[in-house]
């Protein structure tokens, strides 16, 4: 018997999932700031030693990208949409297409040796995508972190404060930004964003 309990936490498609913002309604507005929730993605926290070769090779073979060792970066698999993000020297966030988290976890566990952990956290966080000319302004109103393009190029990912909550900010491409927020704070973040985005005539799709 494995020393770690792993199980598929996703039911079949007959079970209706509810995102953390299920109770909130969409806001219709302009195109200067468009926020869209991407719920139900697979989120795994991977922890281990950065010098563990099996860790690196496992991530490469299972997720198809190099394990990012450079602080504050993440790597996107353009084909699958999966990504691996550096969170700390021994911690990474894997965001996977919906429903793949169990398989990925199993595959990683088979290939990684030594001291590591993998934890499914998909129920506990959700992802917002932001685009439009006013994203910089919205983020600047909300975060103490410098989101100017000189400091925040594509491929950067930073965990920081977001208003009075916390968030991970990611920049997958020139046009888009991503916010990973915690489930229990999601309603607060929604209210904050809609309030702070009011002057930009925001659109928020949940």
């Amino acid at each position: 018997m494995s020393k770690v309990a792993v199980f598929n936490q996703c039911p079949g498609s007959e079970v209706m999932a509810e995102s953390p913002l299920a109770h909130q309604s969409s806001v219709k507005g302009g195109r200067a700031l468009i926020v869209t929730e991407h719920a139900f993605l697979g989120h795994l926290i991977l922890r281990g030693q950065a010098d563990n070769e099996s860790l690196k090779s496992a991530v490469l073979s299972v997720v198809g990208v190099e394990l990012p060792l450079q602080p504050l970066t993440f790597v996107l698999n353009e084909t699958t949409g999966a990504s691996v993000q550096w969170l700390s020297p021994d911690e990474w966030l894997l965001i996977l297409p919906a429903g793949q988290e169990y398989e990925v976890e199993q595959n990683l566990r088979q290939q990684i040796s030594g001291h590591f952990s993998i934890v499914n956290v998909g129920g506990g966080q959700t992802l917002l995508r932001l685009k439009g000319d006013k994203v910089f302004d919205l983020l600047s109103k909300s975060c103490v972190y410098d989101v100017h393009e000189r400091n925040f190029p594509v491929g950067k990912a930073v965990a920081t404060t977001f208003a009075k909550a916390t968030a991970i900010i990611r920049r997958p491409n020139e046009q888009e930004w991503e916010l990973v927020i915690r489930r229990s704070f999601a309603d607060y973040c929604y209210r904050w964003i809609t309030d702070a985005g009011r002057e930009f005539d925001l659109t928020f799709t949940v």
Binding site: M1, S2, K3, V4, A5, F7, N8, Q9, C10, P11, G12, E14, V15, M16, A17, E18, S19, P20, A22, H23, A39, F40, I45, R47, G48, D90, H115, F116, S117, V119, N120, V121, G122, G123, G124, Q125, D137, S140, K141, V144, D146, H148, N151, A163, K164, A165, R182, R183, S184, F185, A186, D187, Y188, R191, W192, D195, A196, R198, E199, D201
Partner: protein, 1005 residues
């Protein structure tokens, strides 16, 4: 009234846009581009306020942030009221409604003025410390009267209709002040491609260049301003923030900038989506301080009568606003700048009676120009007294010897209605001092300049450089250096040509001596807003207040809304003279944020109302709302407190919920419990070190309750931890402790035991937890699960994995109610599905949702503690009678163990957890009631403990409580007493804290 003082030409105002406004109920007109002050002056309004202590009439003195008198109440409606607006910094807008803050029945005729006149001599500094002491009982009455007379404007009585926000910014170079120094600095830095922020507190950028007589490139200086601003605006990395005051400069170059976004347009934001003002939180790599200097007035007798102004303000009103604030001007000055006011005045076509210059032989270019224009110049002299009460009617002039502080020569009275004075300049060093650096006194410029602050470069007038060509050059150099220091390559800028002006040196004069001694002369004001006089400062030093901080505090010098921008240096200089010290010996004042006041709303930003603090919701929150739950705040979480049905009271609802759990089945949303996933081969060892009890033998799929202490031996958290695999545990924490406990585990791992192979990951939000509790729990759950729930297969304190309502779930058979309980955990996105599936069987099993209150009653019946309610940071596991949960012989000295053997923790008479049963079964003890053994003793009574939890139990049929009681474990069966506020004494019997099912039969069925 028409705009009697408006000049026909000139000024940066838009004469095509006329605004109507009111002041003290009278209607006036002004133009777009006016400030409230310039508009009032244009309309010939002299008296704008009454003074704070003596109720003397006061007029406008300055044209900017240093104005002490023109303090207004603004707002046409109640909700839009703003107290203490400086008229000199408030842009005029259509419909603006302003009132004076003092003066009854009005500022022209103020009844309190009489009190000021008669009582004035008794109202020296600190007079209230010397009286109002007898009889002692009368102080509160005296105080009411004192308070009534105090204060300036008033707070609105309604909520603010406007919104505010924050903006976090980062830049390479922050330039504060957009005068000549700031503009050239910003331009030099901006051209390098650096990220530059240029802010300026005024409506228009340009600072002194907007009203200077100097020309740039042979043209009016403001043309150069327009050109530079246009170039800056075209640079993508340069941000221009006009109407933005840098009000604080904090550690590591963190600046707070307050941007007024609609305050210049209307009482409230014209568009509901606009923010009224915005705080920019700026982290700058380099800061260039280009804040300029404030002109100092001279201190002479009756220098507060309306019509007394500072010279620079006179020029500003004439040149920038095309307003001339009087008919006949006398200038009294110690420097060349005073002459500019006279020149501007005479060019505007009104009479300059004389320029009175304290210097014996002034020879600058502007002196020559004044002579050329035929203005009378009286040298070696000063105005020592102004005549008039509601408006200046004349100036008394005498020869003066600053060195001996005496008047010399003959005296002469000049008829005039305006006296403009200039005693030199005080650099605006404020921001440089906010992180504790003291400004440095410079005798040559007769002022303080900024001390050394890392990453801060003062430039221009703020460091005592007043020649325009040098200001521009230094600005450009500082801008280039700052960009260079931030890693950019620079090429410099071409500077505009400036006609060199020959200046003669200023002379140091602060207070002008009077023919009478200071204590007997008419009042010579130093701080106009707080009615601090030179005599007041003299009295303070006579009474032993020799430190400048004492003088300030005793006289209130500099404590007004202007924070002494005009008066502080004069006050220091006067104190220095009286104490026979130099100014630097006397000490500098400490400048602290804010530079100018900022509304609370702007500082609070968007973090108010429902955004004051995050509300955290579980995945089932919407269901609770729909079911009509009342909520309890637990940390940031909103937890259902109870679920009233119909018109039920809380008591009724809780009794019903309790019965449902004890008799049928209830369900609690326990998702807020902290959950930490722990993996690694040393997970078990680690858990054993942080919990008080033993974990070595816990098998897979088994659960165990654990207590956590700090290393001082005091209980800090508790919860159930489950072994999911040999190297895998799931720890639960209290709702409030979740984040702190995760950090606690990381702390120990990262700092003390990095060799242990273990990782912690928060899964609090990931798992939704539904606690199904009651005798029917098994029957109900078996309807929708494939897990074998039979008693002997799935035992108490075990965990199983399976499907619940088609959703993969971990089910823990643990109990906080004492009943048969299954805690169903599913990935939170599926929680609502499972919850609803359970409620599909609501009526079959009598399933009842219950809240935290019922949970508390049920757990207390079982004697289960709530950390933070039954403990308070001074309670050990032993005090709780939980020796069963303490592994005294564990090989590792777990956190808290050593502290338990200290003398005080070994004491036998510590407070211990007990149960209390009120003798009257109907009584519910008050939580927080103090316990005594002898209720007949007199006060102070010897207290021996207090009630921590208390409820009425429908199951027991009586009230019951948990309490911490001195030597409680030895008092079983004894009676204790609780003397209550209403005089009643409640009697209770000390019993075991476990009131129900001590053998645990019910949870083991």
């Amino acid at each position: 009234m028409s705009q009697v003082n408006r000049l026909g030409l000139g000024g940066c105002i838009d004469r095509t846009q006329t605004y109507t406004f009111t002041f003290n109920g009278n209607q006036y007109t002004g133009f777009k581009g006016d400030t409230l002050a310039s508009a009032l002056l244009a309309n010939g309004v002299s008296i704008v306020n009454r003074s704070f202590k003596y109720s003397r009439p006061r007029g406008i003195v300055a044209a900017g942030a240093e104005e002490p008198n023109a303090i207004m109440q603004l707002g046409a409606t109640e909700a839009a009221q703003v107290p203490n607006i400086r008229a000199t910094q408030q842009a005029l807008y259509s419909g603006l409604a302003a009132r004076s803050t003092n003066g009854w029945p009005n500022v022209e005729n103020d009844a309190m003025g009489l009190v000021g006149k008669l009582g004035g001599p008794m109202m020296g500094p600190g007079f209230y410390y010397k009286t109002f002491m007898a009889p002692a009982s009368m102080w509160m009455t005296y105080e009411k009267l004192i308070r009534k007379a105090a204060g300036l404007g008033r707070s609105p009585k309604e909520k603010d209709p406007d919104q505010y926000d924050h903006y976090h910014r980062h830049c390479d170079v922050l330039v504060i002040g957009a005068g000549p120094a700031g503009l050239s600095a910003a331009l030099a830095a901006g051209r390098s491609g650096a990220r530059v922020i240029l802010c300026d507190e005024q409506e228009q950028m340009g600072g002194h260049l907007l009203d200077t007589r100097d020309q740039l490139n042979g043209q009016a200086a403001n043309l150069w301003v327009t050109q530079v601003l246009a170039e800056l605006a075209s640079m993508p990395e340069v941000l221009l923030l006009p109407r933005t005051t840098a009000n604080g400069l904090h550690d590591h170059n963190f600046a707070t900038l307050h941007e007024r976004r609609t305050e210049h347009l209307a009482d409230t934001a014209p568009d509901a989506n606009q923010v009224r003002s915005r705080m920019h939180h700026v982290r700058a790599h380099q800061v260039i301080l280009a804040t300029g200097a404030h002109e100092r007035p001279l201190v002479y007798a009756n220098n507060d009568v309306p019509g007394n102004m500072i010279c620079g303000a006179v020029s500003t009103y004439i040149r920038r606003y095309a307003v001339i604030p009087g008919q006949r001007l006398v200038v009294t000055t110690t420097n060349d700048d005073g002459y500019r006011a006279a020149l501007d005045w005479t060019e505007a076509g009104r009479e300059v009676v004389a320029i009175v210059d304290a210097r014996p032989n002034p020879e600058g270019d502007c002196v020559k120009e004044a002579r050329k224009k035929g203005i009378r110049i009286i040298t070696g002299s000063a105005v020592f007294e102004a005549k008039g009460t509601k408006r200046v009617t004349g100036a008394r002039v005498s020869g003066v010897d600053p060195a001996t502080f005496t008047l010399t020569g003959t005296k002469e009275d000049l008829a005039c209605d305006t006296i403009a004075s200039s005693g030199g300049f005080s650099p605006v060093v404020h921001l440089s001092a906010h992180t504790g650096t003291r400004p440095i006194w410079r005798d040559d410029i007769i002022g303080f300049i900024p001390g050394n602050v890392k990453g801060l470069t003062p430039v221009g007038a703020v460091k005592g450089v007043y020649a325009l060509d040098r200001i521009l050059a230094e600005g450009a150099e500082a801008g280039s250096k700052a960009a260079l220091a931030s890693g950019f390559s620079v090429s410099g800028i071409e500077l505009p040509s400036v006609t060199k002006q020959l200046e003669s040196k200023p002379i140091a004069l602060f207070q002008v001596p009077h023919e009478k001694p200071t204590m007997r002369a008419p009042k010579q004001f130093v701080d106009l807003q707080n009615d601090v006089t030179a005599a007041g400062i003299e009295l303070a030093t006579r009474e032993g207040f020799e430190s400048i901080e004492h003088v300030k505090r005793y006289t209130a010098l500099g404590f007004g809304t202007d924070q002494g921008k005009l008066g502080n240096i004069n006050g220091m200089a006067i104190a220095a003279r009286l104490l026979n010290q130099t100014i630097p010996e006397t000490g500098t004042t400490v400048f602290r944020p804010n530079y100018t006041g900022i509304t609370f709303g702007a500082i609070a930003g968007r973090h108010c109302r429902d955004l004051f603090d995050p509300e955290r919701y579980t995945a089932l929150h919407a269901w609770h709302l729909q079911r009509g739950a009342k909520f309890e705040d637990v940390g940031q979480w909103k937890r259902p407190w109870y679920f009233p049905v119909g018109n039920e009271t809380m008591h009724d609802a809780v009794q019903r919920e309790c019965r449902a759990v004890r008799e049928k089945v209830g369900i609690l949303d326990a998702s807020t419990l902290g959950k930490i996933d722990i993996q690694g081969k040393d997970a078990r060892e680690f858990i054993g070190r942080v919990y008080t009890n033993k974990w070595a033998q816990l098998g897979v799929d088994k659960c165990r309750y654990g207590l956590m202490c700090k290393d001082d031996g005091m209980v800090m958290d508790d919860g159930v931890t489950t072994c999911l695999g040999d190297n895998h545990f799931l720890m639960t924490t209290t709702t409030g402790g979740a984040a702190a406990i995760l950090e606690w585990l990381e702390l120990w791992h990262q700092t003390e035991w990095p060799e242990l192979e273990v990782y912690f990951t928060s899964v609090t939000d990931h798992w939704a937890t539904m606690t199904l509790s009651g005798p029917k729990a098994r029957d109900l759950l078996s309807e929708i699960t494939d897990i074998d729930l039979s008693k002997d297969t799935f035992k108490f304190m075990e965990c199983r994995q399976g499907q619940v309502a088609g959703v993969p779930a971990r089910v823990y058979r643990i109990s906080f109610t004492g009943e048969l309980t299954y805690e169903i955990n599913v990935q939170a996105n599926y929680a609502m599905h499972v919850w609803k599936a359970l409620f599909a069987h609501e009526h079959t099993y009598g399933l009842t949702p219950y809240g935290t209150e019922t949970m508390h009653v049920l757990r207390a019946e079982k004697g289960f503690i709530i950390v933070g309610q039954d403990t308070d940071g001074s309670v050990t596991p032993e005090d709780l009678g939980m020796q069963w949960c303490v592994g005294y012989d564990k090989p590792f000295s777990w956190i808290g163990q050593r502290a338990l053997s200290r003398p005080d923790t070994r004491r036998e008479d510590r407070k211990q957890l007990v149960g209390l049963k009120p003798v009257d079964p109907k009584v519910v003890l008050q939580e927080g009631a103090q316990i005594v053994l002898d209720p007949t003793q007199s006060i102070p009574m010897k207290m021996v403990g207090h009630v921590t939890s208390s409820y009425f139990s429908p199951t027991l049929g009586h009230g019951f409580a948990l309490a911490l009681l001195v030597s409680g474990s030895k008092r079983m069966g004894e009676k204790v007493y609780m003397p209550m506020a209403d005089g009643k004494v409640i009697e209770a019997e000390v019993v075991s804290p476990i009131f129900l099912d001590p053998k645990g039969v019910r949870q083991n069925v």
